[in-house]
C-alpha cells in the first residue's frame, strides 16, 4: 500500500540498490569515445545507447532548458535524414527509441532486434555532428516543450514544490535550476542557443556508447569503429566547470501553498557527499543510513515508529541520491495523518534522527539489508536494460567501470559502525532547507462539472 501512496504523493521511490553488477567489456575508440558492452544472450535483442557527458547543469546562464531542448531537436533533420526519419526508421525495423536529459547527462536509446545494431549506430553517428537546425522546427518544438513543462511541472503541485525546494537548496550550483527550464527562459530559447550547445558538447570524446544484449564485445567494437570511429574528436571540448556550492551556514524555510494539494507534507533537505571515483565508502554508508532510518514503511525506524506504532504519519521516508557529479542532498519527508500539524511532523522527523543516534542499529535489520544487496545482484541480471542505464548514469557522473564494478563490494563491506559514523557526520548541526507543501487555509471548492454539449 505504501508504494501506491508514495506515488500518489508524487514521491519517487527508487530501489536502494540501483547499481550495476556483472562483467562488462570496455573499450576506447581512437577518437576518445568510450564503449561499454554488457552481454545477455537470452533474447535476440539489443539496447543501444549513446550518453553525452552534458546536461542541464552545464547550460550557459539564462538558457535554462537548452540541454533538454537540444535533446528534442535531435529527432529532427540531419544532412542525411529527414525530420522524424530517425524514429520512423527505428519503428519500421520493429524497434523503439527515446531520449532523456538530466542535470549531469543526456542519453539516447533504441531497443531493436540484435541484427539492426549497425543501422542504429549509423543513424546515431549521423546525428552526433550533422544535425540541421530549421527555424520552423525549432519554433514548433519549443511549443511542445512548453506543453511538456505544463504537463509535468505546472500541473503538479508536488513537482512545483520540488522545483522550489531545489532552487532554495542550492545557493550557487545549477542543480537548483529545473532540467526542463524556467518557463520564461524556455520561451526565449533560440536556434542559435541550441546550435551553440550542440556544437560545444556533442562530440565522440564527450560520448559513451553502451550496448547491452545479444552481441559480443568484438561485434560491437567492429561496428563502433565503422560508424563512430570516423567522427573526429573535438579539440575544444570544455571541462565541466560549474559554479560550486559554498558551505550552507543558514537554515532556510519555504512555504508553498497550492489549492490542488491533497496531502500536505514536510520535506527537510541537507547537503550530503556522493560517490567519488575510488572513494565510495561514505556514500555506501549513507545508502544504508537511508534504508535503516527511512526505507521500508514497516521496518525502518521512521516507518515502524511513526506509521505503525505512534500512527502519526501517513507516509514517512528518507531519500538519498548517491550518484551525481556534485554533492546532492539527503532528504527526509513526512506526510502526517489528519490532526497532526506540519510543525509536529517536522519535530517528529528530528525526534527520529535523535532516536537513531541514541539507540543505534538493530543487527538483524542490518543483516537483512546486507542480504538484499547481495540478492540484488541476482535480480539485476534479469534486467539488462536497467543495468545498461545504471552504467550510463555512473559513467557520465565521473565514475569509472572499475568504480561501478566495485560498488557492490563497497556496499558489502559497510559495517554498522560505519553507518553510525556517517550519520553523526551528516546530522552534526547541518544547515537545512525545510519545506512545507500545503493547501491555502480557506476551504476549497469541489470540482464543478459543466455540461457544454452532448
Amino acid at each position: 500500500m505504501l508504494r501506491r501512496l508514495a506515488l500518489a504523493l508524487g514521491l519517487t521511490l527508487t530501489p536502494f540498490v540501483a547499481q550495476a553488477a556483472g562483467e562488462v567489456a570496455e573499450f576506447m575508440l581512437d577518437n576518445g569515445m568510450q564503449v561499454v558492452v554488457i552481454e545477455d544472450h537470452r533474447t535476440p535483442a539489443v539496447t543501444h545507447m549513446v550518453w553525452y557527458r552534458t546536461g542541464a547543469a552545464d547550460e550557459p546562464p539564462g538558457q535554462s532548458g537548452i540541454a533538454h531542448f537540444v535533446e528534442h531537436l535531435m529527432f529532427k533533420a540531419t544532412d542525411d535524414l529527414a525530420s522524424g526519419e530517425f524514429s520512423a526508421t527505428v519503428e519500421a525495423n520493429g524497434g523503439s527509441d527515446n531520449a532523456f536529459t538530466s542535470w549531469d547527462y543526456t542519453g539516447y536509446i533504441q531497443r531493436v532486434a540484435a541484427d539492426r545494431l549497425g543501422l542504429m549506430m549509423q543513424m546515431e553517428a549521423d546525428r552526433m555532428r550533422d544535425l540541421v537546425f530549421d527555424p520552423v522546427e525549432v519554433a514548433t518544438e519549443r511549443s511542445v516543450i512548453i506543453e511538456e513543462r505544463a504537463q509535468r511541472t505546472d500541473s503538479s503541485p508536488g513537482a512545483l514544490f520540488n522545483e522550489q525546494m531545489a532552487a532554495a537548496f542550492y545557493l550557487n550550483h545549477p542543480y537548483g535550476i529545473p532540467i526542463v527550464g524556467w518557463r520564461h527562459e524556455i520561451e526565449a530559447l533560440t536556434l542559435e542557443n541550441a546550435r551553440a550547445f550542440y556544437d560545444t558538447w556533442y562530440h565522440p570524446n564527450n560520448a559513451i556508447l553502451i550496448v547491452a544484449g545479444d552481441v559480443t564485445p568484438e561485434e560491437v567494437l567492429t561496428l563502433a569503429q565503422e560508424h563512430y570511429g570516423p567522427i573526429p574528436a573535438s579539440d575544444n571540448l570544455p571541462p565541466r566547470m560549474r559554479p560550486t556550492e559554498p558551505p550552507h551556514i543558514a537554515d532556510r524555510r519555504i512555504h508553498f501553498e497550492d489549492e490542488r494539494v491533497a496531502t500536505p507534507y514536510v520535506s527537510i533537505r541537507m547537503l550530503a557527499p556522493v560517490r567519488e571515483p575510488g572513494d565510495q565508502a561514505e556514500a555506501a554508508a549513507l545508502v544504508y543510513l537511508s534504508e535503516l532510518l527511512g526505507g521500508s514503511g514497516q521496518t525502518s525506524l521512521m516507518g515502524r515508529r511513526l506509521q505503525i506504532e505512534e500512527e502519526r504519519s501517513l507516509f514517512v521516508g528518507t531519500f538519498y541520491d548517491a550518484t551525481s557529479v556534485d554533492p546532492s542532498g539527503f532528504s527526509m519527508v513526512n506526510a502526517p495523518v489528519p490532526g497532526v500539524s506540519l510543525e509536529e511532523a517536522e519535530d517528529d522527523l528530528w525526534r527520529m534522527v535523535e532516536t537513531f543516534l541514541e539507540e543505534g542499529i538493530d543487527p538483524g535489520h542490518f543483516a537483512r539489508i546486507q542480504f538484499q544487496i547481495e540478492a540484488g545482484e541476482i535480480y539485476e541480471e534479469d534486467d539488462t536494460q536497467g543495468l545498461a542505464r545504471s552504467y550510463g548514469m555512473q559513467l557520465t557522473t565521473g565514475l569509472s567501470v572499475a568504480d561501478a564494478e566495485a560498488w557492490t563490494e563497497v556496499l558489502a563491506a559497510v559495517t554498522p559502525e560505519d553507518v553510525m559514523a556517517a550519520a553523526r557526520r551528516l546530522f552534526d548541526d547541518p544547515s537545512t532547507v525545510t519545506g512545507y507543501l500545503m493547501r491555502p487555509p480557506e476551504p476549497d471548492t469541489e470540482a464543478d462539472t459543466t455540461e457544454v454539449s452532448q
Binding site: 535524414l81 506543453e147 505546472d154 455540461e451 454539449s453
Partner: protein
C-alpha cells in the same frame, strides 16, 4: 548515407524475427491449477504472476473500495506475523511480492530466489490464505486509501478518466473508481474486507504465469503450496457494462494552466474477427511511438501537446477505444478539433498502404523484444491466459498481425471510428470550448 539506410531497411524486413523464441510449457499442478511456464535456469530465481480474475468489479456498490483496501492489507500481517513481522520476513528472504488491484483482476507478482524458494512460498501462502486484517492495520491502511482518494480528487488526469467512466458506465462497477469514495471507504468494516477476500481470491479464477529457474514438476508443487488452501469456487462476476455515452464535450473546472482531455467511444471485443484489423488501425491512429497520425498532427506539426495516444481498452466487461492528451488552456480547443478531423478523415478515407506496412513492421518487430527477462515473461504469460488465448497464440500472433489487409483496416475504420460519437472530458480552464463542439 540515406541510400545505405534504405538498403539496410529493405534487406532487413524479411529477416525480422518471426516469433518470440521461447518455449512455453503448460503445467497442471497436482491440485488441478493450470499454469504456463518458461523455464530458464540461467539466473537463480523465479518470477511468478498470479492473476485472480474478477478484481475490484466484484465490489458490492455499498462497499465500493473493499477489494482495493483488502489487497492493500495482504502485506500488513498474516498468520502469527503482524505487519512488521511480515515485512521483516520478506526482507530476510530478499523476495519481493507486489499486491495490486485492478478493475478486472487482483494481481500478485512475486520474485523468489532459488536458494530459499520454499520459505518464500510459505510466506506468500500466509499472505494470501491467512491474512490477519488486524483492526490497527485496517485503520492505518484506510487512512492511506483516504489520502489516495483525496489526491485523485485533485489530480486532473484522474478526474478526467473517472468522470469519463462515470458518464459512460453509470452504476456499473466500471462507473466508479476502484478506490471507492471517502464515504464508502469510511464505512467499510472488517467483515466487508473478509467478504472481499473470500470473493476475490479463489482457485477457480486464478491464472498463473511463471518464468525462471524452476522445473514443471517443482512449479506444480509450488503452486499448490501457495494456493492450495484458497476456496475452490468463485462468486459470479457482474454483467456486461453498457457504454452509455454519446458524442459531445464535458468540461470539469480545475485550476490549472493546462487542460487534460480524455476521450473515446465504444471499442471492439478481443474475440471479434476484426480485432487485429482494429489493433493495427489503432497503431496508425494513436498507438505508441512518435509516428502515429495524432502524434504527427497534434504534436509534431502544431506543437499543441507533449504527447497524445489512443488505446483499445480490453476491459472484460466493456471494450472501448480511448485516448488522452494535455494542452494549454488556450490550445486545447484547437487540439480537439484536430483529433476529430483525423478521426473523420480515417473513417472516411482510410489509411494508406504505406501506413499499414509501417505499422505491421513495427508491431511484428517489437513483439519478440517484449520477452525480455523473467519478470516480463511471467506477466505476459498470465495476461494471455486472462485473455483466454491458446498457448500457441504467442507463436502465431505476428502472423495474425501480418494477415491484416488494407481493405480490412479501412472497412473496420469506417465502422469503428465515429467522429460524431467521440466524447471529450476536459479538465482544466479551457478557452473557447463552446456548445456545438
Amino acid at each position: 548515407m540515406i541510400a545505405r539506410i534504405a538498403a539496410a531497411l529493405v534487406a532487413c524486413v524479411l529477416a525480422l524475427p518471426a516469433s518470440a523464441d521461447i518455449e512455453i510449457e503448460e503445467v497442471t499442478s497436482p491440485g488441478g491449477i493450470e499454469a504456463w511456464l518458461v523455464e530458464d535456469a540461467s539466473i537463480p530465481f523465479v518470477a511468478l504472476e498470479f492473476w485472480f480474475l474478477g478484481g475490484s468489479a466484484l465490489d458490492p456498490a455499498e462497499s465500493r473500495g473493499a477489494t482495493y483496501l483488502m489487497t492493500g492489507l495482504l502485506e500488513e500481517g498474516s498468520a502469527d506475523m503482524d505487519a512488521q513481522g511480515f515485512a521483516a520476513a520478506l526482507e530476510g528472504l530478499a523476495a519481493s511480492f507486489d499486491f495490486d488491484s485492478y478493475r478486472d483482476a487482483v494481481v500478485i507478482s512475486a520474485q523468489m530466489l532459488t536458494q530459499n524458494r520454499d520459505a518464500a512460498a510459505d510466506l506468500l501462502r500466509a499472505a494470501l490464505t491467512q491474512p490477519r486484517f488486524d483492526e490497527t492495520a485496517i485503520e492505518r491502511v484506510r487512512g492511506q486509501v483516504l489520502s489516495i482518494i483525496e489526491s485523485n480528487a485533485r489530480d486532473p488526469g484522474e478526474i478526467a478518466s473517472t468522470t469519463f467512466s462515470a458518464l459512460a458506465y453509470g452504476d456499473h462497477p466500471y462507473g466508479s473508481a476502484q478506490e471507492g469514495s471517502a464515504e464508502t471507504v469510511g464505512a467499510l468494516t472488517r467483515d466487508d474486507i473478509l467478504a472481499a477476500h473470500r470473493a476475490a481470491l479463489t482457485r477457480e479464477r486464478v491464472v498463473v504465469g511463471a518464468a525462471g529457474d524452476i522445473s514443471p514438476e517443482e512449479l506444480g508443487l509450488l503452486i499448490d503450496r501457495i494456493l492450495g488452501d484458497l476456496p475452490a469456487e468463485a462468486p459470479p462476476r457482474p454483467g456486461l457494462a453498457e457504454f452509455g455515452l454519446d458524442g459531445g464535450t464535458t468540461v470539469v473546472d480545475f485550476p490549472s494552466p493546462q487542460s487534460v482531455a480524455y476521450f473515446g467511444h465504444r471499442g471492439i471485443e478481443r474475440d471479434d474477427p476484426d480485432f487485429f484489423a482494429a489493433f493495427v488501425l489503432n497503431q496508425v491512429l494513436g498507438g505508441g511511438g512518435f509516428r502515429s497520425r495524432l502524434m504527427e498532427e497534434v504534436r509534431v506539426e502544431r506543437g499543441l501537446t507533449y504527447g497524445i495516444s489512443t488505446f483499445l481498452s480490453l476491459a472484460d466487461l466493456s471494450p472501448a477505444l480511448l485516448g488522452q492528451f494535455s494542452s494549454s488552456n488556450d490550445l486545447v480547443g484547437e487540439a480537439i478539433e484536430v483529433v476529430r478531423d483525423q478521426w473523420a478523415d480515417i473513417a472516411a478515407n482510410g489509411i494508406t498502404q504505406e501506413e499499414l506496412d509501417a505499422a505491421i513492421r513495427y508491431m511484428t518487430g517489437e513483439y519478440p523484444l517484449r520477452f525480455d527477462g523473467n519478470a516480463r515473461i511471467a506477466g505476459i504469460l498470465a495476461a494471455m491466459q486472462s485473455d483466454q488465448m491458446p498457448v500457441d497464440y504467442i507463436v502465431n500472433r505476428n502472423d495474425y498481425v501480418r494477415a491484416v489487409t488494407l481493405d480490412d483496416v479501412n472497412r473496420v475504420a469506417a465502422e469503428l471510428l465515429q467522429p460524431e460519437g467521440l466524447h471529450f472530458v476536459v479538465v482544466g480552464r479551457p478557452e473557447g470550448l463552446s456548445p456545438g463542439n
